[in-house]
Symmetry: C2
Subunit: 393 residues, 2 copies
């Protein structure tokens, strides 16, 4: 094969808000009608903060049609074909300010200021639609179900089983747990057991952060983008020390769009704390329930969704783990690689060993999310980037 | 000079709790009497969590006398002389479970579950005693005043001025701000102005972390020690992006006992976000108020108190900044280097360039905290570690 099998570990899809209505459970449609204009206004306000209007508009100019791939099957196929992407992992929030699921069930999945029952209703509505979208090209699309687990672990288990039965490949949990127990708490164990058993990937996607700390002061956005990856990766600290990967050795967890540059220091620090030191011995026994070093759990159980991966992350691949990196395009977000994916990939991967490029751009995600590479082969043969493109001579 | 001038950037001192009574404002002494047994019990509970009793007891065996240097002048001089330490920066909480200031005014300076007026009273009591302790050896002791700034910035300014007038060299602020505004908020500007003007160092000392997130689950202590340094360094993110070092170019901030291994990745990330990238441009302008890169503010305004600095931090010194590292012993804490300081320093600094060792073990702290090295010279000549000790051949 002279072309790479490319999977984007981070893409987004979502309906225009009003179209979610028919996917909402009937008993919540009145609430949906009341909430819709409020949501529209809130998203507009949030967009003002996170999206400079003129940059966003200029970015969209001339690609309006291609952006409808956020929900339209045919258009999505065209865009991904054009990017050379054979398969994709699909998170919510298509065009950020246009396609958020109802009732606060979007990518940031807040643990405060939501009505749990309604957030669940919004999540289920999105999951139903997403399952339909994925069924239109099941070999190419690994949909991630939204699961607001904090409110009800039993309900989360039911939704995970529903997701599996309906062809979805993973479950997205909130990065932040508010006042609910964090992810090392044993109450989540039955959920991990089901995900391990069904081979569902547990996903944490970057976005949420404690905005209440940042206020409206000058520079607050610099604070946000400097911290947001930490908040996304934080559940790993709890899962590793909590022994979750010890009890569920086949559980798969992905941390997406949180960069990967923090990984070497992160695993080194945890390993350092795992080893006996004068500092830690006074704190008692917090390691005997772990049969492996933290870095070993990371290597075995975690995949980093490296959205728009810069060259530096490729250069750090041995410290991060070549098998733990999965490139992503972040389509259709403006910070994503599309519509410059080919150029960005060249910059990132030029002249690296072919086998390692193959792992990072596709194979790792194929293995983790269970794509069928034989079924993808004809698509790759047609649209995959040629290997020669990543060689300078 | 064939000996190193050594300053410990991180030492602790505090009275046995009942002895704080006479330093508390008279109107708060009734509250003190009520609070004392409660505090004693709470510290006992906390100690159970953070100090394994038998390890702690074994560690103390035979050094009970030396540990009274936590509050006793003569004993303290002997211990520091024995360690080869000419000068020290002094934080609260001498022997952790024995010498915490009253009313929740200790090292973790909580922003919740305290009565602000009483926390202030406890802070002032400690500061008064600390000023006396430092006056007994003013050339060797740089005391750090406790300043619970969150409750009242005006009061914080008054306390900072009092600290300066009474010979203290810095002010310790809480690492965590609870529901109060974070450190990029302009309400703190008058305080930064006073600290800059008086040359008072602003200190954040490691310890506080969101224990409520960690619960009582197995492995929770692993989470704590993996995160605690991040919580201590976090104010830097707010100060840098908030433009505090832009508006107050001579403000000095130290982050203490939070390790230094995070520094290279931290400044690189902030610089990356400072540079224009596709990701950040959509977020609007959050850099034009900063005339320098984040790494440049760090290099100019920040000193890392590298307690019990391991060899690896010395090896990272160029990435961290040789001028930004100040070794510390953490006496009299059990995780500190004492009573094995000489051996630990050898392991850390062996065969590094002499001028760089001199910076890290003393000169940087001398410059930052304003020690008078001429006054220290006779002490160094008597007790300072010989330079030859750090050469293997």
């Amino acid at each position: 094969m002279d072309r790479y099998l490319v999977i984007s570990s981070d893409c987004h899809a979502g309906l225009p808000p009003e179209q979610y209505r028919e996917y909402v459970d009937p008993q919540h449609r009145d609430a949906f009608d009341v909430a819709l204009p409020i949501q529209t206004e809130m998203i507009k306000q949030a967009a003002k903060k996170f999206l400079v209007a003129d940059i966003n508009e200029e970015w969209r100019k001339g690609v309006e049609q291609e952006l409808t791939g956020a929900w339209d099957h045919d258009q999505r196929v065209k865009v991904l074909d054009g990017d050379g992407i054979a398969g994709e992992i699909i998170y919510p929030d298509g065009i950020t300010e246009m396609n958020t699921p109802p009732f606060g069930a979007g990518i940031s999945l807040p643990a405060e200021n939501v009505v749990p029952e309604l957030q669940w209703a919004g999540a289920r509505a999105h999951n139903r639609w997403l399952a339909e979208l994925c069924q239109m090209a099941p070999e190419r699309r690994a949909g991630i179900a939204i699961v607001p687990i904090l409110w009800d672990v039993e309900e989360a288990i039911r939704e995970a089983k529903w997701a599996k039965e309906n062809g979805l490949k993973g479950v997205m949990l909130p990065c932040r747990w508010g006042k609910e127990p964090a992810y090392h708490h044993p109450r989540y164990d039955p959920f991990w057991a089901v995900c391990e058993d069904l081979g569902l990937v547990v996903s944490y996607h970057s976005g949420p952060a404690p905005m209440e700390d940042y206020g409206e002061e000058q520079g607050m956005m610099g604070i946000y983008i400097s911290e947001v990856a930490w908040w996304c990766a934080r559940p790993l600290t709890f899962l590793i020390w909590g022994g979750v990967f010890e009890r569920f050795p086949k559980l798969k967890v992905t941390i997406t769009e949180g960069t990967s540059v923090w990984v070497p220091e992160f695993v080194q620090l945890l390993d350092f704390r795992y080893a006996d030191t004068p500092y830690s011995s006074k704190l008692g026994d917090y390691t005997s329930h772990l049969s492996m070093k933290p870095s070993e759990y990371f290597a075995r159980n975690v995949l980093i969704g490296a959205s728009c991966m810069p060259r530096r992350e490729a250069e750090l691949r041995y410290e991060i783990g070549v098998e733990n990196i999965a490139w992503g395009s972040d389509y259709p977000h403006p910070e994503g690689s599309w519509p410059h994916t080919a150029d960005q990939m060249k910059e990132t991967f030029m002249d690296l060993p072919e086998a390692e490029i193959a792992q990072m751009v596709g194979k790792n995600a194929v293995d983790f999310f269970g794509f069928d590479s034989e079924k993808l082969a004809p698509i790759v043969a047609r649209i995959g980037p040629e290997k020669s493109v990543f060689r300078s001579s």
